[in-house]
């Protein structure tokens, strides 16, 4: 008989950067001026903002299954879901919302008799029902328990970025830090303007606070944030034709033809 020990550490990230990384990046190391709880809170709020700006939601897309039980989604690249408290920078089952749809004749006819344009009942498949997923090739597999009836069709909500997530780790981190910094500095603004005092004279010396420079600093951060977002967000637009000049079709747009990458 021989024994071996096994140890595992698990992680569940709520943002794309940590408080330590934010303090190193910004230089705001003063804990009394920027308390840890406030910084962490703003970083998490900023993470959701980053997700909403960088990633696009695809909702209730009908997915088709191949002979290996892989359900394929049409668009690339899979990204993190909006509205969750996790932001791993990698795709997990929490970034997919899978639905099964009951479109049997009784449901369809009942809806039809109600005069509805919708002919199906949808039910979310729990994330534990996703057994495997591939963020590059854009497919997932379900456990044997799903769909709960072989007659049901599968639909997916998912989120896409303009580039594979593993290529934009730095951009995610930077954007998260920039937006958290903006939130924290904007929080200081009302206190700076307290009582409207922007200058103080004592004797023959006047100290004047330049609010325009403060605003300009925030604007610079805002521009830096959006330059990063523009690199990462998926192209989503309508195919355009002016004279003989036509916009390219290799996009993820539903109007832009098949995806090529």
């Amino acid at each position: 008989m021989t024994d071996y020990t096994s140890f595992t550490v698990t992680e569940k990230k709520a943002a794309y950067c940590t408080e330590t990384e934010w303090r190193q990046f910004t230089g705001f190391t003063d804990q009394s001026e920027f308390p840890a709880s406030d910084v962490i809170s703003k970083i998490q709020i900023a993470a959701e903002k980053v997700k909403k700006d960088m990633f696009m939601a695809i909702r209730l897309e009908f997915v088709t299954k191949d002979s290996n039980d892989r359900y394929f989604m049409s668009r690339r690249w899979l990204a993190n879901a909006w509205g969750t408290d996790v932001a791993h920078g990698t795709v997990t089952p929490m970034d997919l919302r899978i639905w099964e749809s009951d479109e049997t004749s009784s449901v369809s006819s009942a809806f039809f008799l109600q005069g509805s344009r919708i002919n199906r009942l949808i039910r979310q498949i729990p994330v534990e029902g996703i057994s495997e997923w591939d963020s590059i090739n854009g497919y997932f597999k379900l456990t044997d328990s799903w769909p709960s009836s072989s007659n049901y069709r599968i639909f997916a909500d998912y989120w896409i970025a303009g580039k594979p997530l593993n290529e934009i780790q730095q951009e995610l981190r930077l954007a998260n830090m920039y937006w958290a910094e903006i939130l924290l500095l904007e929080e200081k603004k009302p206190m700076r303007l307290k009582n409207g005092v922007v200058s103080l004279t004592q004797g023959d010396r006047t100290v004047q606070r330049n609010e325009e420079e403060f605003d300009k600093m925030i604007r610079d951060l805002y521009n830096s944030y959006h330059s990063i977002v523009n690199v990462c967000r998926p192209f989503y637009g309508k195919k355009l034709k002016i004279g003989r000049i036509e916009s390219r079709t290799d996009s993820v747009s539903p109007y832009g033809g098949p995806l090529r990458y």
Binding site: T2, D3, Y4, S6, T8, T10, D134
Partner: protein, 162 residues
Amino acid sequence: MAATLTLYEFIGTTTSPTTCTNLNFGSTVSGNLNSTLYPVTVGTYGQSKVLQLSFGGSFTSITNIKIYQSDGTNITGETINYGCSSTFYTSTGGSYADSNATTAVPTTTPTTANITVGDTSSYTITDTENTTDYVFLQSSLSVLASATSIPTKTLTFTWTEV
């Protein structure tokens, strides 16, 4: 003198295996890895370990090789799967389940051998044919798991020796 077991982990190829001193799971392919440096993201699979048992020392024959979890409890959402194959496959993890590791490691001593040689459980290990099939071990952390340091477990290998 009794037989001694050496456990090897294969990193990418069947050459230059690492001698295991522990079976820590993580998000990278490495023998005896530091779990703190390579945490497994909740909702994903740890990188599977591709192992092989090699018997040395003094013995005539060995049969009935078993693996089970003799100590330590699994947290909610945690599963450790295993499987055997005489064919080598590279490690899998992240968003992919290892198709060779599909059975949960038992928490009590199995009644029959669950580690194979030549893809069969009826075999005899000798001092010249002293290795088992490849053993694939993979940890799975479902979305139900929490972010934590999971309590240490003990995985025990037993065998019948003549």
